[in-house]
Structures are given as structure tokens and as C-alpha cells.
């Protein structure tokens, strides 16, 4: 039904929400038979240029255990100035300021088009943003110089009132005291010994706040520590001195002998950074930005020893339980990450090196706090410089896209409970009537904390239908969910964004076709993929694939139309037709296949997958492929070896790479120089067209993707060849008859074979 596609799209544009099912099965039993759980992707701060925030506090339900926000779903008695909460049915009095409302004079939050609305609330005095640079000095000269310049440049991008600090590390860790006069001082710590937060604060001479600050509660004016601390100073005061200080940074002076790695104390450096902020600025927006050029080799959190002959752990080592430092290092960074999240701060990791840097062990620092993870080859590359610049990109109002200290609370109507969330967040352990005992992802709570987020940050939230089979749903009954996100805007205002949505219940026995028609296969694919990747972090790879396959088979058994034991009769309706393809590509993706990737690379890909919005996530699962030819405008083509033709140029977007591939004939024409001849000007245009389109993507994506410009027969063509469905391989080359496209040298299963097996299993009466 075309109308559901529109419905889905309109809802996403307005509310930033995509549900796997848009008509909900009305009983617990039926919901489990749907195979794909009832779940949604939520982009809490989706950019809404048409949504001006309102400058007052939201009206809340007065029941202490509810406190839902007034929304268009609430029944209103304008005469008596009462409203009924749609979640708990409590009747509430409107506040005095609402005395003038009526049917024709509604406040914004009651209007249907404001199902998503943003409030600006004044709570205490605004606190500035904080940026603490933690810089590895064990870099090559060229890299260190490039990094220094990027950091100096960033001082021009930071807001003048923001606080900035600097910690450098190598064998030792140096905390730089920023002052405007006299000789620059620093406090030096040994890189081998971890310290508690208190020890760090004592050694740095910091006074602890007298009143212990509760997490989530903003500081009252009288509790605030003095804004200016010796180690964190406002940019407008310290920029000249800090520019000089950065300019004078030297490589770590400790000599590195032949056959050794530099001694790098990343674990202690991060620990000190976390402790410093904990003691001075808890519960305010802060980024700890770690810049590292190699693995930690010393102290707590070390990932590999300093002997080059012992390589850093590979997946093979991990499988054979041969990664000596992994468990201890991961635990060290997990503890730091949890503390950082509790303090409302985030940790970014910018790792540039030719070998691994320990992203596997350190990934929780970015994943739990919402911080960025960037992986490159060198700081002297456009990949790093542009990605880093884009951290400070601004929106149409000239304000940073980053937001801090968000708490997300989810409320459901009583037929639903919350199983959990998957995304860049931590649990706030908030129990309540909405919380389900069956956990999926980060569960056992209806509130999560996202310490850093931007307009594309997306959480997956999983629900459970708890309505009993024999409990009737009233005709036209709807279930409702409310998402309340409180956060600190980059302009330091505190804001609350409220999204309230409802969907119809339907009896699965008699109205399955409605439920089927309202299935969102794209959202479902991403939601199942997030579950799969979440499981892959703790389970064995083959188990996850088996689980994914089983779910796919069950889904096809439930919703396919077929005659038993007749695979050729199998059909799927339109709303399911792309789903098996998504699952096929997901199984081959770097999120579930660790072969050919280092543990760091897998961690990097998974990090980005767990936080992107639906469109980008789908690109990661099944890359986009466009074909350019003389016969018309560029068109999307199947991600299939049959699309690789001699006279075509292909543009592939995997999210992490942009690949431009010249077919064999195109490449030959280019070598012959036809593009320089005026009579073949259209060939010149043809060559340019994909470059222009690629540029469009490269100009805005965060993080900056790699750029591969390759051709038939070139080694870099492997980026394309490994992604396309290998419908033609060296095994079946002569079985096809008419050949088209390029055969791929692989033993991987093709989509055709996959679908054949799937159909056989789905229709089998033995399953």
C-alpha cells in the first residue's frame, strides 16, 4: 500500500521515529509470532528547521509515578480547564498561565502537527562547554606537526567562552597549567601507575565541591566551583598562550630503540583527564578528546608490549584466547567510560596510525559516552583534518551541532513495556511500570543517558507487548509512546524535546493483512541488525549468523505466501520484498564478518553502525550503487556483479568509502585521452559526473569517508568486488550462458543461492 510508505516517511520527517511495525499486534502471544520485535529507531535531536522551540516549561501530569508531558494525544476540557493524561488517565488542572486557552486558541503542544515539540527551560546559570585535549607525543615528526596545527586551528573554531585544557602523554603524562603570564608549568605523572580520582585531584591541588552533586541534577548557582580552573581556561583568554604552547610541543623525549615501540601511557592519561574533569566540572557538557598515534604500551590499559616482534592481537589471537592484555585493558577503559558517563562527559578518540591503536579495548569510551571515534592512517591526511574540522560544524543558526548531557525517558501506554535500548548511551537504572523484565540491549530501565549527541544520533528502542491474549482492545484503540529528551544545547541553553506518537492496535488473527501492510522493512532490517551486532560483541560469530538466519526463516514462514514443500510457489508481499536482501548483505557485512578486518577495524565499523540514522545505517548494510553511462542520467543499479560493465562508471557508497570505478572500456578511453579532445566533450562530462556526485557526499558526511578512484583490473577494485552480490563467480561462469558483468573470484554464496535455500526452508513442512 503506497499510503503506508508516505505515512512512514511523514512520521519520520516530523518525529524522527521509524517503527518496525506501524499497526501493532494486540496481544503478547501474537507479537512474539511476528518474529521482528516491536521496536523503533529514534533520532532525538533530528534537525527540524521548521520547529522553533517554545520558551516555557512543559506541563506535566501531576501523578508522581507518571509525569507525562501534555501532548496532542491528551483529552482536553477547555471549559473546565482540565486535561486527561493519556498514559495514566489522571485528570489534571491546567496551570494559571493557560487560563485563556480554548478550541480556537490552543497552545502549540496540543496541536497535532506538534507531536514533536521543543521547550527551552531556564534552570540555573548557563555553564560553558569544556574541551580537554589529551595528546599523544609519541608521533613521527610530520604527524606531530600536522596534529599541532590542527589543534591550533581548532582554537579558532571553539566558542570564545568555552573552556579548554591540555594533557600530553608519552612515557609520562603531563597536565599543563594554562596561565597568561610567566613560565608555563605542568604537573608530571608516571605513566605506569594508575591513580584514583581523589589522588589526582589532590596532586593537582583542586578543591572538591563541598556539596556532592547528584547526577542529572544541574548545579545550583551557589554550588558551582569557580569557573576558571588553572588547567581549564576560557578560549578568549588563553588562545594566544595555548597556541604558543601547542607550537612548542616536542616529540616524547624518551628514545625508542630498534625493534621497540614507544612507551605510551594512554590508560593513565585518560584516567587523569577523567579525574580532572570529575573534580572540577561534573555534570556539565565536556569533551575529552584523545589524539593517539599508536597502541598503549605501558601502564594500566596497555594493549600490547613494547617489543615489535610481538604483534598486537588479531581476531585469530582472540579466538584462540591468546590476547594477553585484552581483558584487563578493556576493564580499565570500561571503568573510565562508566565514570565519565556518570559525570555527564564524553570521550572522543582520534586514532591515526598504520597499525592498530587499541580501539577494541578503548571502544567503550566512545560507545558509552556518545563520543566520536575516528580511525585514520596519519594526522597529516585530509581524512583526519576534515573529520576533526567537522566536529565543530555549525547549523543554520550558526550554532554547533553537538549537544551534551542528554537524558532520554520513554513512557508507554499500559499495553506496552520497554525491553531496552541499543545505541551510544548508558542506563540510568530507572525502574517503573513501563520497564519489562525481558531485556533486549541496555534494559531494566526506562531512562538512558547520552552524554554527547548530534542531529543524526539515533537510538534503537525495543518494546514488548504485554496485553494478554484474551484482554480485548477497544475498537480503534491506539497504543502510545512518549520520548522526552532533556539536554544541554551547544549554546548552553537547557532544552527538552518531547515526541509523542500513537499507533493502532489490530487483532493479528483477523487483521493480519493490515499489520503486514504497515511493516517497515527498512526499519526492521536496521533494528534486527543492531540486535545482531549487539549480540556479536559477546557471542560467537557463527551463533549470531545462525540466530539471524533462524529469524529470517521464521519471518518468511509467517508472512510468505506459498504451497507447502513447493519452493517455487513462494512469494513475499511488497512490504517484505527487500528484507531478505538486507539480511543477505548484513550477513556479509563487516559488522558480522570479522574476517579480513582487524579487531580495531571491526570495532570502528560497529561503533558507527550503532548510532547512525536509518538512511545511513542502510547504506552501511547494503551499499548504494549508481551507474553512469552515455545512455541517460545516472541510475541506481543492483549491487550485483552484473552491474559491472565495461562501458559504465560506477559510484559506490558504503558510508565508510566512496568508490568510483571505471569499466574496462572507460578506462581505456581515458588512457587514450579522449576526454581532452573537443569532439568527445561528452566523455569528459561523463568522467566528471560521478566526481561531482561523490563530492556532494564527501562535503557533508561525518566521519569523512575514504575515497577510492579505481578501474577494472586495479587492486583497489576489490572494494567494489567484495561488496557486490557475486551472482557470477568462477564457479558458475560457464553455466549462465549469456555473460554480463564481471565474475567475482569467490566461494561466497550469492543472493540467488541464498534465496533458493531460504525458500526451501520456509516452505518445508519439516521446519
Amino acid at each position: 500500500m503506497a499510503t503506508y510508505l508516505e505515512f512512514i516517511q511523514q512520521n519520520e520527517e516530523r518525529d524522527g521515529v521509524r517503527f518496525s511495525w506501524n499497526v501493532w499486534p494486540s496481544s503478547r502471544l501474537e507479537a512474539t509470532r511476528m518474529v521482528v520485535p516491536l521496536a523503533c529507531l529514534l533520532t532525538p535531536l533530528k534537525e527540524r528547521l521548521d520547529l522553533p522551540p517554545v520558551q516555557y516549561e512543559p506541563v506535566l501530569c501531576s501523578r508522581q509515578t507518571c509525569k507525562a508531558v501534555l501532548s496532542p494525544l491528551c483529552q482536553v476540557d477547555y471549559h473546565a480547564k482540565l486535561w486527561a493524561c493519556n498514559f495514566c488517565f489522571q485528570r489534571n488542572q491546567f496551570p494559571p498561565a493557560y487560563a485563556g486557552i480554548s478550541e480556537i486558541n490552543q497552545p502549540a503542544e496540543l496541536m497535532p502537527q506538534f507531536s514533536t515539540i521543543e521547550y527551552i527551560v531556564q534552570r540555573g546559570s548557563p555553564t560553558p562547554l569544556i574541551f580537554l585535549y589529551v595528546v599523544d607525543t609519541c608521533l613521527e615528526e610530520e604527524d606531530l606537526q600536522a596534529l599541532k596545527e590542527s589543534l591550533q586551528m581548532s582554537l579558532s573554531l571553539l566558542p570564545p567562552e568555552a573552556l579548554v585544557g591540555l594533557i600530553t602523554f608519552g612515557r609520562m603524562v603531563q597536565v599543563h597549567e594554562l596561565s597568561c603570564e610567566g613560565i608555563s608549568k605542568s604537573y608530571v605523572f608516571r605513566g605506569t601507575k594508575d591513580l584514583t580520582a581523589k589522588q589526582i585531584q589532590d596532586m593537582l591541588g583542586l578543591t572538591r565541591p563541598v556539596v556532592p552533586v547528584q547526577q542529572g541534577r544541574p548545579l545550583q548557582p551557589q554550588e558551582q566551583p569557580p569557573i576558571s580552573s588553572r588547567f581549564l581556561q576560557p578560549v578568549h583568554k588563553i588562545d594566544m598562550n595555548l597556541t604558543d604552547l601547542l607550537g612548542e610541543l616536542q616529540r616524547d623525549p624518551w628514545p625508542v630503540t630498534q625493534g621497540k615501540r614507544p612507551l605510551r601511557s594512554t590508560g593513565v592519561a585518560l584516567s587523569i583527564a577523567v579525574g580532572l574533569l570529575e573534580g572540577t566540572f561534573p555534570n556539565t557538557g565536556a569533551r575529552i578528546m584523545l589524539f593517539t598515534g599508536g597502541p598503549p604500551t605501558q601502564g594500566p590499559g596497555m594493549v600490547v608490549g613494547d617489543e615489535l616482534k610481538t604483534p598486537i592481537r588479531s581476531w585469530h589471537d582472540i579466538e584462540k584466547d591468546n590476547a594477553r592484555f585484552m581483558k584487563k585493558a578493556t576493564k580499565h577503559y570500561e571503568t573510565l567510560a562508566n565514570r565519565t558517563a556518570a559525570n555527564g562527559h564524553c570521550i572522543d578518540i582520534y586514532a591515526c596510525a598504520l597499525d592498530q591503536t587499541g580501539l577494541l579495548e578503548m571502544k567503550c569510551c566512545a560507545n558509552l559516552t556518545g563520543g566520536h571515534m575516528m580511525m585514520g592512517d596519519s594526522f597529516n591526511t585530509s581524512l583526519f583534518k576534515q573529520t576533526f574540522q567537522r566536529v565543530f560544524s555549525k547549523d543554520f543558526n550558526g550554532e554547533f551541532r553537538m549537544a551534551f548531557g542528554a537524558t532520554l525517558e520513554v513512557k508507554t501506554s499500559r499495553e506496552l513495556k520497554i525491553s531496552g535500548a541499543i545505541g551510544p548511551c548508558v542506563s540510568l537504572n530507572a525502574k517503573g511500570p513501563c520497564v519489562s523484565e525481558n531485556e533486549l540491549g541496555i534494559g531494566g530501565t526506562c531512562q538512558w543517558k547520552i552524554c554527547s549527541l548530534d542531529p543524526s544520533s539515533t537510538l534503537a528502542i525495543y518494546f514488548e507487548v504485554v496485553n494478554q491474549h484474551n484482554a480485548p482492545i477497544p475498537q480503534g484503540g491506539r497504543g502510545a509512546v512518549q520520548f522526552v529528551t532533556q539536554y544541554q544545547h551547544s549554546n548552553t541553553q537547557r532544552r527538552i524535546r518531547v515526541t509523542t506518537i500513537a499507533r493502532n492496535w489490530a487483532d493479528a488473527q483477523s487483521q493480519l493483512q493490515h499489520i503486514e501492510a504497515a511493516f517497515d522493512q527498512e526499519a526492521a532490517a536496521v533494528l534486527m541488525a543492531r540486535l545482531g551486532v549487539y549480540r556479536a560483541e559477546s557471542e560467537e560469530g557463527p551463533d549470531v549468523l545462525r540466530w539471524l538466519d533462524r529469524q529470517l526463516i521464521r519471518l518468511c514462514q509467517k508472512f510468505g505466501q506459498y504451497n507447502k514443500d513447493d519452493p517455487n510457489s513462494f512469494r513475499l508481499s511488497d512490504s517484505f520484498s527487500l528484507y531478505p536482501q538486507f539480511m543477505f548483505h548484513l550477513r556479509r557485512s563487516p559488522f558480522l564478518q570479522v574476517f579480513n578486518n582487524s579487531p580495531d577495524e571491526s570495532s570502528y565499523y560497529r561503533h558507527h553502525f550503532a548510532r547512525q540514522d536509518l538512511t545511513q545505517s542502510l547504506i552501511m548494510i547494503q551499499p548504494i550503487l549508481y551507474s553512469y553511462s552515455f545512455s541517460g542520467p545516472p541510475e541506481p543499479v543492483l549491487l550485483d556483479s552484473s552491474s559491472i560493465l565495461a562501458d559504465r562508471i560506477l559510484l559506490m557508497d558504503t558510508f565508510f568509502q566512496i568508490v568510483i570505478y571505471h569499466g574496462e572500456t572507460i578506462a581505456q578511453w581515458q588512457k587514450a585521452g579522449y576526454q581532452d579532445m573537443p569532439e568527445y566533450e561528452n566523455f569528459k562530462h561523463l568522467l566528471q559526473a560521478p566526481l561531482d556526485d561523490a563530492q556532494e557526499i564527501l562535503q557533508t558526511r561525518f566521519p569523512m569517508p575514504r575515497y577510492v578512484n579505481t578501474e577494472h583490473g586495479s587492486s583497489q577494485a576489490r572494494f567494489l568486488l567484495s561488496k557486490v552480490n557475486p551472482s557470477q563467480t568462477h564457479n558458475n561462469l560457464y553455466a549462465w550462458g549469456q555473460e554480463s558483468g564481471s565474475p567475482i573470484l569467490t566461494d561466497d554464496v550469492s543472493l540467488q543461492v541464498f534465496m533458493d535455500h531460504l525458500k526451501k526452508l520456509a516452505v518445508s513442512s519439516a521446519s
Binding site: 586551528m153 517455487n568 513462494f570 527487500l578 541506481p636 578511453w669 568527445y680 561528452n682
Partner: protein, 229 residues
């Protein structure tokens, strides 16, 4: 917004650093990165539905003779591309302007650029800390040295000239944006001294109105700082 004004910002794309990262993406200038307007193409996110589940596999017919033999084709004639008879039916687009970097000539003299800056600095000396003013002065001297030694490229000199004119007109936001674009696009040339210019703009814009003697072509009177949009 500033990105759309060619005079204020450079718009260029440079290739990435292939020596350090062999698939390093191209580098966009600051002006291109903050561009808000410009023709927006529809995003490339469409997919072709695969073979419908259950339908027989349909092969797309090859357009050209399928080159089944991957032999050395250099010796084999491969045919010519089609002639440019009609305008190509490709996506209409506005090609990004590529400003040639090195070939621009810059006739500006360093003293013409420095004089207004030093003047602005002396206006600040009443209210701003001596140490800060001395620091700015020191960096202006470094700037002058580098200019005279020919170590500053033409785009940098040219844009500094524009920046200084905006400072004279008290267009603080515009001047600030130019400083930012220079820091992003030419950090290795400007990092030592640009922070002094940045500070000078920040301090000058906060001066009490009496201190700032207007020195612009548009007329007398202490006008409030114009914010260009």
C-alpha cells in the same frame, strides 16, 4: 551567510595526501565546507528492488560485446566513445569553482595591511591589558617578517587585505570569518601569528564606543558594528 560570497572565501577542492593515506579523500576549503546554499542535488539513496522473491532471475542484457577474455587488450582496438553530438543528458549541475591558487598576483604592500591593524591596536591600549597588546604586537611583527621574506602565499596576502578592510569598517563578524577561513585553509602559513589577529578583532569589537575612532569611507560617527549576514 558568508560561504556564498566568493570575495570573502576561497572555494576549492584539493586532492588528499596520497603519500600518507592512499585513499585519502579530497580536501575542501573552509568556504566550501560552510556553504549553506547552492544547488542541492537529490541525495543518492535509491535502490533497485532485487529479483522479486519467487520471480525467475532476469538477466540484464549486456549493451556492449561482453569482454569475456581478459587478455592484454592494449593491442586490441576497443572502439571510440560516442561523439558529442547533443548536450549530454546528464544531471545538470553547477561545477564547483576551482580558484587557481598559486598563480594569483597580489600587489598589496604589507604596510598597507599593517597600518590599520596597528592603529586598531593602539586604540585598544587604553582598556586592554598591556601584556595582551604586547603579545598582539609581537605577532603582527612576525606576520610582517614572514610577508617580507615572501613566505606568505598570494591567497593569504590577498585575504588579509580584505580582512583589514573589514576591520576598518568594523564588520567584526566578517573579519572573524575571514580569519577562521585562513586558519582552516592555510594553517601552516598562519598559525604563528593569526591568533594575534583573532584576538585583536575580539578586543576591538568590545571597546567602549568612544575609544574606537571610525576610519571608513562611508561616513563619520561612531556607528555600531555592522554585522554582515
Amino acid at each position: 551567510m558568508l560561504g556564498c560570497d566568493v570575495a570573502m572565501a576561497e572555494l576549492y577542492v584539493k586532492p588528499g595526501n596520497k603519500e600518507r593515506g592512499w585513499n585519502d579523500p579530497p580536501q575542501f576549503s573552509y568556504g566550501l565546507q560552510i556553504q549553506c546554499g547552492g544547488p542541492k542535488r537529490p541525495p543518492l539513496t535509491r535502490r533497485v528492488p532485487g529479483p522479486a522473491a519467487g520471480a525467475p532471475q532476469a538477466l540484464t542484457p549486456a549493451n556492449s560485446a561482453p569482454p569475456a577474455v581478459p587478455a592484454a587488450l592494449a593491442s586490441k582496438p576497443v572502439g571510440l566513445p560516442p561523439l558529442a553530438v547533443v548536450s549530454p543528458a546528464l544531471r545538470p549541475d553547477a561545477a564547483k569553482q576551482v580558484v587557481s591558487l598559486a598563480e594569483e598576483e597580489c600587489e598589496v604592500k604589507v604596510e598597507d595591511v599593517l597600518a590599520p591593524l596597528n592603529e586598531t591596536l593602539s586604540m585598544c591600549r587604553n582598556t586592554v591589558q598591556k601584556q595582551v597588546c604586547d603579545d598582539i604586537s609581537r605577532r603582527l611583527a612576525v606576520f610582517r617578517e614572514l610577508w617580507l621574506q615572501g613566505k606568505l602565499s598570494a591567497p593569504v596576502r590577498k585575504r588579509m587585505n580584505i580582512l583589514v578592510q573589514e576591520v576598518q569598517r568594523q564588520h567584526w563578524d566578517v573579519a572573524d570569518e575571514i580569519h577562521r577561513s585562513l586558519m582552516v585553509d592555510h594553517v601552516n602559513e598562519v598559525s604563528q601569528w593569526m591568533v594575534g589577529i583573532k584576538r585583536l578583532i575580539a578586543e576591538a569589537r568590545n571597546l567602549p564606543p568612544g575609544d574606537l575612532v571610525v576610519n571608513d569611507e562611508q561616513g563619520a560617527g561612531a556607528q555600531p558594528a555592522e554585522e554582515a549576514l
